[in-house]
C-alpha cells in the first residue's frame, strides 16, 4: 500500500498554509508561546517535506488541483523531487535559524526584536514553500512577490533602511519585467500553466521576448549578476539570523524560478541555447566579481554576502551545462547539490557571524583574533561550512563541483570547468580570510582562562547546519532527482 494518496495532499497543505496561519497567529500570541509555535511550524514543514520526498520517490511527480479545478481554469500545485526536497531543507534551515534567533536577537539588538522576526520568518517560509510547489508562471510570480516582501521586511527589521528600500525597488522592477513576460506568454499561447505551456510554446519573437523579460525579472529578484547590487548591503546589514535566511534560502528563489522555466518552458522557445551561453558568461563575471569583492572585505557578514553573489554565479554557469545534451544530467544534479549545500553552509556561516557579533559586539575580521581559542566550536563551524563554499570534500559543495566539472568536460565545454576551478580557488582565499583570523592569538600571554561562553544553542544551531552541509557530501547524487 502506498502512503502517497493519503498523506501527500495533507503534507502539501500543511507546508503551504500552516506557516502563513501561524505567522498571523504570532501577532496575537507573543513571548514563549509564539517562539514554540514558530519553531514547531518550521519543524513540521520540514517533516512535511520529508513525507513529500518519500511520496515522490514512491509514486513519481504529484499534481494537486486546488479545490479540484483542473487547469486552465484552476490552479495546480506540482510536487516533484526538487520541490519536496526544497521544502524539507528549507524547514530545517528555518528551524535552526529560529533556535538561534530566539537567543541571539535579544543579545544583538535588545529585547523585542524577536516578536517582529517570528511572523516575518513564518510568512517567508510559507511563501517559499508555495514557490517551490507552484506550477504556473503567474503563481511563481505571486509567491516570489510574497517572498520578496517578507524578505524586505527582514532587512528593514534592523538593517540599513536604504538597503531595504533599494532591495524593494529592484524587486518591484524585476516583478514588472517578469509580469510583462507573463502577459506576452498568456496573450500568445493562452495559458500560464507550466505543463500546458511546455506543449504550446512555439519558437518565435514573442516567446523569445517573453523569455528575455522573465529572465531579467528573476535575475533582479534573485541577485543574479549584473543585477546583484542590492544584495551585499542588504544581507550585510540585516541582523545575522535574517541574513542567514536571506542568503541561505531566499537568494536561491530567483534561480529556482529560472530553473523551473528552463526545464519546462524554455526548451520550446528555441532561444534557450543562446540565452544559456549569455547567462553562463554573466555567471562567470559573478564568480569573479563576487569573489574578488569578498576578498576585499574587512567585515565577516559583508564578506559572506559577496560570497553569495559568487556562489549564485556558479548556478548561472550550470545553465549552459544543463542546456547541453551530454552534460544535462550531471549539470542539473550539480546545480541542485550546490543549491542545497550552499543553503545550509551559508546559513551556518551567517549564524556563526551572529554568534561572534553577539559576544564581541562586531564582526570586523581583524579583531576576531583568538576566536578559535575563545569559542572553538563556533570557529570550527565557520571552517566546516567554508569547505562547502570551496567545494572541498567532504561536503555537498564537493559533490556539486565534481558534477559540474563532469558536465563541462562531458559536453566538451572545458572553459566552464576552468571557471568552476578558478572560482573555487578564489573561494578558498575568502574562506581563508574569514577563518584564519580566528586562529591568530591576540597579543599577551596565552592562558587557559575562558571568556564567558556563548549560549550553547547558538553554537549548536550553526554547527547542525554546517554538519548537514557536510553530510550532503555523502549523499549519492542519484538520490537527488
Amino acid at each position: 500500500m502506498s502512503l502517497a494518496p493519503l498523506l501527500i495532499p495533507w503534507a502539501a497543505a500543511l507546508a503551504l498554509a500552516l506557516p502563513l496561519l501561524a505567522g498571523a497567529a504570532c501577532f496575537v500570541v507573543g513571548g514563549r508561546a509564539a517562539a514554540t509555535l514558530a519553531l514547531g511550524v518550521a519543524v513540521l514543514s520540514s517533516a512535511a517535506g520529508i513525507v513529500l520526498t518519500a511520496g515522490v520517490e514512491a509514486d513519481g511527480v504529484q499534481r494537486l488541483a486546488l479545490a479540484g479545478w483542473a487547469p486552465p481554469l484552476g490552479i495546480v500545485w506540482r510536487i516533484d523531487g526538487l520541490a519536496a526536497l526544497a521544502v524539507a531543507l528549507t524547514g530545517l534551515i528555518f528551524a535552526a535559524v529560529l533556535v538561534h534567533a530566539e537567543k541571539s536577537l535579544d543579545l544583538l539588538r535588545g529585547e523585542g526584536l524577536s516578536e517582529a522576526f517570528r511572523p516575518l520568518a513564518l510568512v517567508l517560509l510559507g511563501g517559499l514553500n508555495a514557490l517551490y510547489m507552484a506550477n504556473d508562471v503567474f503563481n511563481l510570480y505571486v509567491t516570489l512577490e510574497l517572498v520578496t516582501l517578507a524578505a524586505v521586511g527582514m532587512v528593514a527589521l534592523a538593517g540599513d533602511p536604504a538597503a531595504a528600500l533599494r532591495y524593494l525597488l529592484v524587486g518591484v522592477l524585476g516583478a514588472l519585467a517578469y509580469m510583462l513576460g507573463c502577459g506576452l506568454l498568456y496573450a500568445a499561447f493562452g495559458t500560464l500553466d507550466l505543463d500546458l505551456l511546455a506543449g504550446r510554446v512555439e519558437p518565435g519573437g514573442t516567446a523569445s521576448a517573453a523569455l528575455a523579460l522573465m529572465i531579467v525579472g528573476v535575475m533582479a529578484k534573485g541577485a543574479l549578476f549584473p543585477l546583484h547590487g542590492w544584495l551585499p548591503p542588504a544581507h550585510g546589514s540585516a541582523v545575522a539570523p535574517a541574513s542567514a535566511l536571506l542568503s541561505g534560502v531566499v537568494a536561491k528563489g530567483g534561480f529556482y524560478v529560472l530553473l523551473r522555466l528552463w526545464l519546462d518552458v524554455y526548451p520550446a522557445t528555441g532561444a534557450a541555447p543562446a540565452a544559456a551561453q549569455i547567462l553562463g558568461v554573466l555567471g562567470t563575471l559573478a564568480v569573479l566579481w563576487g569573489s574578488l569583492q569578498a576578498i576585499r572585505q574587512t567585515r565577516l557578514k559583508v564578506l559572506l554576502a559577496y560570497s553569495t553573489v559568487a556562489q549564485l554565479g556558479y548556478l548561472m554557469v550550470s545553465l549552459p551545462l544543463i542546456a547541453s545534451a551530454a552534460g544535462h544530467a550531471s549539470g542539473l544534479a550539480g546545480a541542485l547539490h550546490l543549491m542545497a549545500s550552499h543553503a545550509c553552509a551559508k546559513a551556518a556561516m551567517f549564524l556563526t557571524a551572529g554568534s561572534l557579533i553577539a559576544t564581541r559586539g562586531h564582526d570586523r575580521l581583524a579583531d576576531l583574533k583568538g576566536a578559535a581559542h575563545d569559542h572553538p566550536m563556533t570557529a570550527f563551524t565557520l571552517g566546516l561550512a567554508g569547505m562547502t563554499l570551496m567545494g572541498l570534500p567532504p561536503s555537498g559543495g564537493f559533490i556539486a563541483k565534481w558534477l559540474l566539472l563532469d558536465a563541462s568536460l562531458r559536453s566538451g565545454q572545458w572553459w566552464w570547468a576552468a571557471v568552476i576551478l578558478g572560482g573555487s580557488l578564489l573561494a578558498g582565499v575568502y574562506v581563508f580570510l574569514a577563518v584564519s583570523w580566528s586562529m591568530s592569538r591576540p597579543p599577551g600571554e596565552p592562558s587557559d582562562a575562558q571568556p564567558p561562553p556563548l549560549p550553547r544553542r547558538l553554537e549548536f544551531a550553526a554547527l547542525a547546519l554546517a554538519l548537514v552541509a557536510m553530510a550532503l557530501g555523502f549523499v549519492s547524487a542519484e538520490h537527488i532527482p
Partner: protein, 497 residues
Amino acid sequence: MTLLPWSQAAPLLMLFSSFLAGVIIFTLDEQRHVLRATLNLGAAAAKLVLVGVVLLGVAAGQTFEVAWPLVGGFDLVLRVDPLSMLFITLSAFLWFVTTVYAIGYLEGSPDRSRFFGFFSLCVTATVGIALAGNLLTFFFFYELLTLSTYPLVVHRGTTESLRAGRIYLLYALPASTALLAGIVGLAVLTGQTEFSPRGSGLAGVPVEDHAFELRLIFVLLIGGLAAKAALLPLHGWLPQAMVAPAPVSALLHAVAVVKAGAFGIMRVVYDVYGLELAYDLGLSQGLAVLAAATILYGSVRALAQDDLKRRLAWSTVSQVSYIILGVALAGPTATLGGLVHLVHQGIMKITLFFCAGNIAETHHVHKIAEMNGMGRRMPWTMAAFTIAALGMIGLPPTAGFISKWFLGVGAVEVGAWWVLVVLMVSSLLNAAYFLPLVYRAWFLPPADATAGRADAKLTLLIPALITAALTILLGLFANTPFTPLAWVRLIAEADHI
C-alpha cells in the same frame, strides 16, 4: 540486522578508530589532561593492533574492501592491498610514537583539545589515503589531510606560524585543484578512476588517439601530488612550515603529508597508468629527471641553512625525491629501493625532528652554531640524532644504506648510469650538511663550560630512541621476514611491477 563481515569492517575500523577519538577529544574540556592522553594513546594503540591483524590477513591472502556510492557512478572505496598496508603500518606506528612525544611536548600549552582533535583527524585522513581504492577516494582524504594539518601548522597563532600556514595553503589548494581537474578528466575520458594493478583500468583506452589527453592528465595529477611531496618547483612551503611545533613537523615530514604526496605518485604511476604506459608516453623519464634535480637542489639548500629545523626541512625535500626517483626509474630493483625508502625516510626523519624538538625544548637552541658540546649535555638525544643522520647519509648498517643500495643497483639495471652520479653527489652533500653538525655536538666544547648534563624528559626521549633503534635494526635485519624490505618484495610480486 547482521554485522558487517570482517573484510568490510576492518578498513572502516582502521579509519574510524582515530576519527572517533578525534571527535571526542574536540569536545573535551581543556583541563581533562588524563582522559585526553588516555584517548589519544588508546586510539593509537588500538589502530596499531588492528593494523597488525589486517597485516597478517593480507599476508595470508585475505582481501578487504568496502564501498559507498558517492557521485555519478563513482564510489568511495576503501581497499586493502600490500601497498596500502606499507603506508598504513608506517603511519600507524609513527602516529603512536608521535602521540607519546606530542603529549610530552605540549604539556602546559593552551588549546590542546583542538590540537589533538585535528591531530587525530590528520591521521584519519592518512589512513583514508592509504586505503583509497580509487582516485576519487584518494582525493577525498587528500583534501581532508590538507584541511586538518592547517590548524596544526598555525597552532601557536603567532604571526610567523600564520604566515607558514598561509604559504602551505597557497601551495596546497591550487595543487589540489589541478589534481581534481586531472581526476575528473580521467573519469570522463575512461569512465573510471580505479587503482588496478599495472594500470589495467586504462586497458580499454586507445592510447594513440588520446596521447595528448593522457599526458595532460598525468601532468595535472603529478603536479597536484608534487606540491605535497615537495617536488621541485613546488617545494617552497615545506621549509617555511618548520615553524610548527615539533610533533607537527614530524607529522608533515615523516608520517603524513609529504608521504601522502609520494604515495599518491606511486599510485598514479603503478596503479593508474602502469609503468609501461607511463614509460611509453615518456612520462616516467621526465619524472625521474625532476626527482633527481630535487634531490640535488634540496641538498644544496640544506647546506646553506643555519637553523637546525630548516636544514632538516630542506633535507626532507631532497630525501622524499629518492622515493619518487625509485618509482620513476621503472626497474624492478629501483622500485624496491623507492618503496622501502618511504618507510626508511619516515623513521629516520622523524628521529631527527624529535631530536631537534628536544634540543629546542630543553635548551632553547635552534641554530646550528649553538650546538657545540650538545653531545655532552644531551648524550641520548644526540646519539639518536647521530644514528639518524648517518642513516640519511646512507652509511651501512643503517636503513638509509638499504634504500640507497637498491636505488643504485636499480639504476644500473635499467642503464641509467647518470643516477649513480646523482646518488653519489647527493650522499656527499648529505655528509657535508650532517657531519659537521655531529662533529660540533660531540667534539667541540660547549660555549658555557659550566653547563651540566641535562637530557630531555622521558616522554620526549623515548620516542626518539625507539625510532633511532629501528633505523639500525631495519638496516641490519633488512633481509629477514617482517621487515619493510620483505613487505616491499611482496608488493612488487602482487602488483607484478
